[in-house]
Every structure is written in C-alpha cells, then in structure tokens.
Point group: C2
Chain length 237, copies 2
C-alpha cells in the first residue's frame, strides 16, 4: 500500500505540443486504477497543460493576468485524469490547490479535505496549480511541492513515489543511481543539464527534506512500485 | 462595497431542465461584473446542475456513488459562471468546496485561500457542492451554508446578500416582508409551502445566526443591492 504518488507532467502529457496527452497516458491511468489504491493520494504535474500558459504570463514571478487561464488549463488535465481513472472504477475525485492552498506570511495547505476523502475510500487527485500569494496575485505551486507537503502532514511513515520521465536520478553517464543521500551528489555531476532532465535536482531536494525520503522511477516501473517493489532511485538522507 | 453575495441556483439555471441555464443568466452575470466588486466574494447554488444528480444518488443521506458526478455537474455550472464573468473582465477564479471543506467530528471550511484571492483583487466564486464526511462518503454543502460560513469567518461587519427567485421573504398572501427577526415569523405563515418557495426558511435560519444578518432579494434588484441600496427583506435578530 502506497501513500503518495506523484506522476510527472512529462509522463502524462506531450510537452512539445500544448495541451496534448502523451502516448502512454492511457496505460499509466490503467496501471494506477488496477493497483491496490487503498489509502493512496495521487498528484500530477501540469506538463503542456499549464507550463506554456504560466510562461506566457510570466507567472513564475507572480501575477494576476493569466492566473485563471493557467488554472483552467491544468484543471482540464486534472479532469482528463480523474475522468479516465473513473472509467476504470477508481472513485477518483479532483482536489484543486487553488481552493485549499495559499501563501501569506507563511505557506498554508489545508489537507483535511484530501485526507477525509481518502479515508472515505476515494482516490483524491491533486495537481500542480497556481495559488493565491499575498502581495503577488498568484504564484506557481508545483506537483512535487504538493506531494512533499502531503507527506509531511501525513506523518513519519509516508512514502512518496515520483514517477518521472527521467526514470530516476542519473549519473553523468546516464546510469541510474540506486541511492542518493545528499543534494551534492546530484549537483556534482548534474551541472547545467539538471533541469533539462525534468527538474530532478528539485525533486531530490524535496525528497531529502522528508525523514522517510522517497523514490524516483520511470513510467515502465509504475506497476511494480504500486505493487510494493523497491524500484528506481531511493532518495533519502 | 458588498462582502458576500449568494445567487440562488434557481436564478442562474432553469430548474425544470437538467443542466440548463436560465434566460436571465447573462443579465445577472453582467450586473455582477459591472458592479463595484472590490472585496466581493460570490457564491452560487447548484440549481439544475447538481440537484438532479444528488437526488438520483440520494446524496442527501450521504454516499460515495454519484459524488463525482454531482461535483462535476455543479463544477460545470461554476465554470460557466466564472467564464462568463471573465468575458466581462471580472478576474473571477473558481473555489471548490470539495477541495477546502470537510465534515469530521466538526465541520471545517478553510477560507484563507478565498480570502487571499479576494485581497489580491480576484473575485472568488464558490458554489454549493458535495464535501467529504467522515463515515458517510460525502454529503451536500449548500450555497446558503457556504455564504453564512464565509460571513462568520469574515468578521462582524460582513453583510450577506441572497439573490433568490422568491424575491424575498413573503407573507402568506405573497407580499414581501420588510424585516424578519425570528424564524417563527416565517414558519407561522409558511407552513408546508415554505420549501416550495426555494428553501426560504433555511435562508432565514442561516441569516439569523449572523449578528449582522443579511438581505433576501430578487434578481431584478441585484444591481441596486450591489450599489449599496437596502433592497428586499432584511433578516436580522
């Protein structure tokens, strides 16, 4: 039984074509729907539903213009994910961070609706989103941040799995590492190429902040991961 | 400047036809968009987007089946409302109660995302919805309840306006009352017909629970209400 599964936007969407699903979308959805989903919370990235919109309006720096457009784009992807999961009987329901997270003096994320839905047998499906930020309009909250935040509030034993197109944390020759225990291990070999491989250093930093860490693996290993197997790269201090 | 405006599902939709907007939908939206919206929060009912779905699955009693279908129906209405408001430049954004409210040992509603959005110049648009309830799957949270809850957390001076197809609180001859200060005044003359007039007794009970009370008025008075005029029936202890 897994606690929190983040599926990257680059796994679910074709990042080269705006608002286009990837070829493996259906397979990934079916794998999640057919797995032991009891107690699972799903988070997905925005991929080509959201990133182009946020970039057009420079929402990385905060703003008001484009906030609705960006939210609607990723909410459309969320609707496709939730709808497809429910075609496989998954009892999935959408949870939108714009409705339950905010940045004021501190970052806040109300997770009780998500937790209650999960306890009632639903599969809550969250996503990277824009959220209100005091003084800046909105700012971007990534799926990785959401996954880690849910894990933090979930308690000490929460394992987090990140299914990413990079397939894991790779060394400079492209070989996957079994275990990463510090950010230096990534930046040492990653250099400027790190972000090109899907923001892996950000994922590593996020997972290292959790006592129980997490795993980064590829879409072809999703079924094994959900089945309880130790796949991909373990990221833990 | 008004604080919280609830627009009834029967004002925005044709309750006799499933998922059909009312003839006055466009006028109502334009009136809200053209008003002084600074600091306003909008809440709308489900009307024929949601009530038929909830009734089919008997969600009044709680449940899991039909939860997604009902949420999606009212979220579609919310999308139409937000989209139409933004065609008039309203900077509206959706806030879904399924994502931010829950019923556990007590009822909870996280309003900081809504408040932060409002402070940043957005027009948050909430709606009647299903919310997770411990032990019951989901249950229905009405737009009226949301409006009153927002007012309660908003502070003492929050005025609440309820735009309803009944046009106000009526006496037994159908004449509108200027002021109602107790529920008995409604039930005395309302009898069994009360709920037929759009759940007016529920609205009165909700508004009486607020120190500052609120007003119930018709769609033809919406512009005056948003302009600061004292229209409709004042409901206050």
């Amino acid at each position: 039984m897994r606690a929190i599964l983040k599926i990257g936007g680059s796994v679910l969407t074709d990042k080269t074509e705006e608002e286009t699903l990837s070829d493996r979308f259906d397979d990934v959805i079916e794998t999640v729907a057919d797995a032991d989903r009891d107690g699972l919370i799903l988070v997905h990235g925005a991929g080509s539903f959201g990133h182009p919109h946020a970039a057009r309006h420079e929402l990385g720096e905060g703003g008001v213009e484009g906030a609705y457009e960006t939210h609607e784009a990723v909410a459309r992807l969320n609707g496709l994910v939730v709808g497809a999961l429910n075609e496989h009987g998954a009892d999935a329901v959408p949870v939108h961070p714009l409705s339950c997270a905010w940045r004021g003096d501190t970052f806040g994320f109300e997770t009780l609706p998500t937790q209650t839905l999960r306890e009632e047998g639903f599969l809550p499906v969250l996503h990277g989103d824009v959220v209100a930020e005091s003084g800046s309009g909105v700012s971007v909250l990534s799926g990785d941040e959401i996954a880690v935040e849910l894990a933090r509030l979930h308690g000490d034993a929460a394992d987090v799995g990140m299914c990413a197109s990079a397939g894991g944390v790779l060394d400079e020759e492209g070989n996957r590492l079994e275990h990463v225990s510090s950010l230096e291990e990534v930046t040492e070999f990653g250099g400027e190429g790190v972000d090109v491989t899907g923001g892996i250093s950000g994922k590593v930093e996020s997972l290292l902040s959790l006592p129980s860490g997490g795993r980064v693996f590829g879409a072809d290993e999703l079924e094994e991961y959900l089945g309880g197997e130790a796949v991909g790269t373990l990221v833990r201090r």
